[in-house]
């Protein structure tokens, strides 16, 4: 790769209800970040917006964001996918040599303003699935969960183990949206079924999220921060929409995105060279499913890995030490939340959930029914 690009600043907010408007949220995050870094909007060369028209209830959902983001009369475009794709776009723009800084601005108010499930509902085929009326995001996730448990020979208890680990970490993490008291495997198991085998506490919560991330070239990064976190590699991949033709128990697109990202980062064995991962697992089964597909843990050994604490904060492959998406997630900003938590870990600023060893991270984001599209980044100090 020509040149290096770093994450040099970030600011985010995550709660069931941020009690704000889109414009105020974006202004307070971006202006706040500029003030922290001692810069103004003219030091941002390109603005990349990332929000969802359907969730916002307006097309071209960024038309009102030029003023609050500082993009007025600047270079501005929008990516309407998971925010990691917007970040990859910003990274590429800097690598082109035309830009020294890129600001990624993302938000989704699916806690207070719109149902998160509408996004997938209206991604379904208007001439088939939406007419038949059987499928939705939760039913699709449940079929994926059973497919994975069944092929792997895992018990439903794996879902409780994953959710309990994540929800306990989320409770410790002051930056998370869902922070339950005294949550354990029994509490997860006693929550109501939505679609079997998925229970309420196996599923991501309704959350408001706003997130801004500033990227800079190597030269500019040295001016802006003493703790740059470098983008060592990135990749993405998509598989078919047709869920009836997919092996839902695996994620070949997450595997391919990981292969691409690791190839750029010079990583041959993710399970040994990655210190921890922040994974957009919107449902409990997706965390081990993706971890296996991304070669973070051996295929077929997830239940043992979770029972033995391998994926916990003290294990050899901590996954979602922040508490992950079960603590907070929304369309578009979801992957960037995971990225922000990974950057804080690498900087040693993760507070109560700080890991001892956090030098190299894998970050993952997803889009579509049963994670049809996946994006992966490798970050390092």
């Amino acid at each position: 790769m020509a040149g290096k690009v770093a994450v040099v600043g970030l600011k985010f907010a995550c709660a069931p209800d941020l009690k704000t408007t889109r414009e105020r949220l974006v202004f307070e995050l971006t202006r706040g970040l500029f003030d922290e870094l001692g810069i103004d909007r003219h030091e941002v060369d390109t603005f990349i917006m990332c929000s969802n028209d359907f969730i916002d209830g307006r097309t071209i959902s960024t038309v009102f964001l030029d003023a609050p983001s500082g993009a007025y009369l600047k270079d501005e475009t929008k990516v309407e996918m998971d925010g990691l794709n917007a970040l990859i776009y910003g990274w590429m723009r800097i690598l082109s040599g035309q830009y020294d800084t890129a600001l990624v601005v993302s938000l989704g108010l699916t806690g207070s303003q719109a149902s998160p499930y509408l996004n997938i509902q209206y991604s379904l085929s208007p001439t088939y699935e939406r007419q038949v009326g059987l499928l939705n995001e939760l039913a699709g996730a449940a079929l994926q969960a059973r497919s994975y448990l069944s092929r792997s020979g895992y018990s439903e208890e794996l879902l409780d183990l994953v959710a309990a680990k994540d929800l306990q970490l989320a409770a410790k993490n002051p930056r998370q949206g869902r922070r339950l008291e005294a949550v354990d495997v029994d509490k997860v198991r006693s929550s109501d079924y939505y679609y079997e085998p998925l229970r309420e506490l196996h599923c991501y919560p309704r959350t408001d999220v706003g997130c801004v991330v500033l990227l800079a070239s190597e030269k500019k990064a040295a001016e802006l921060t003493e703790k740059p976190v470098w983008i060592l590699g990135a990749g993405n991949s998509i598989e078919t929409y047709f869920y009836g033709e997919r092996d839902l128990s695996r994620s070949p697109s997450a595997a391919e995105a990981t292969r691409r990202a690791c190839s750029l980062a010079g990583i041959s064995d993710p399970s040994k060279e990655i210190d921890f991962a922040e994974v957009s697992a919107l449902f409990a089964h997706q965390e081990p499913l993706l971890a296996e597909s991304m070669s973070l843990i051996p295929e077929g050994e997830a239940e043992k890995a979770y029972r033995d604490g391998i994926t916990g904060p003290g294990g050899s492959m901590p996954i979602n030490p922040s508490g992950g998406s079960l603590g907070g997630h929304t369309v578009c900003a979801g992957g960037l939340l995971r990225l922000c938590e990974a950057v804080l870990q690498i900087r040693g600023e993760a507070g109560p959930v700080q890991l001892e060893k956090a030098g190299t991270a894998l970050v993952h984001g997803q889009d579509g029914l049963c994670a049809q599209q996946n994006a992966v980044l490798i970050l390092g100090a």
Partner: protein, 152 residues
């Protein structure tokens, strides 16, 4: 963050217009078949896979799949979920009673077909069960003609 009083305003997004979506030859064939209590799939001339519902492009081969084939109405249940809720305009609602959605591998077909599974208690549903299609009494070439699958 600074707290100010922020009331909600609840605009209804005006989706009261209609889209003219062409269903395409694949779904058209499926619906035409339903009117005769038949199920059609499409076959890829390159990889030979048969998929239901029929569609016109194979992603893996990047090829047109224009040959429609009638497929079996019996198959094997490969995956299922018992629903305790449903979604209405994005809001979670509690179902009156648990219901089963299944992915059925119709005999000779390479894809799984999503359908409602009835005629068996949810607790009695098992992967690997043989099931067969049940049609509405009156069929009219509509999505709802193929009502559900029941144990064969």
């Amino acid at each position: 963050m600074e707290e100010v009083k922020l009331e909600f305003f609840n605009p209804t997004v005006p989706l009261d217009f209609q889209y003219n979506n062409r269903v395409g030859p694949g779904i058209q064939k499926l619906l035409d078949g339903f009117a005769e209590r038949k199920i059609y799939g499409s076959k890829c001339p390159s990889c030979g896979k048969v998929v239901v519902p029929p569609r016109t492009i194979c992603g893996a081969c990047n090829a047109k799949m224009e040959g429609f084939v009638e497929v079996a109405q019996e198959g094997t249940l490969r995956n299922f979920t018992v629903g305790h809720v449903y979604l209405e305009k994005g809001q979670l609602k509690k179902a009156e009673s648990p219901y089963v959605l299944g992915l059925v591998e119709l005999d000779g077909v390479d894809s799984l077909f999503l359908a409602r599974i009835s005629g068996v208690e949810p607790s009695g549903v098992k992967e690997g069960m043989r099931v067969k299609a049940v049609w509405k009494d009156q069929v009219q070439g509509d999505y709802a003609d193929l009502d559900h699958f029941r144990p064969a």
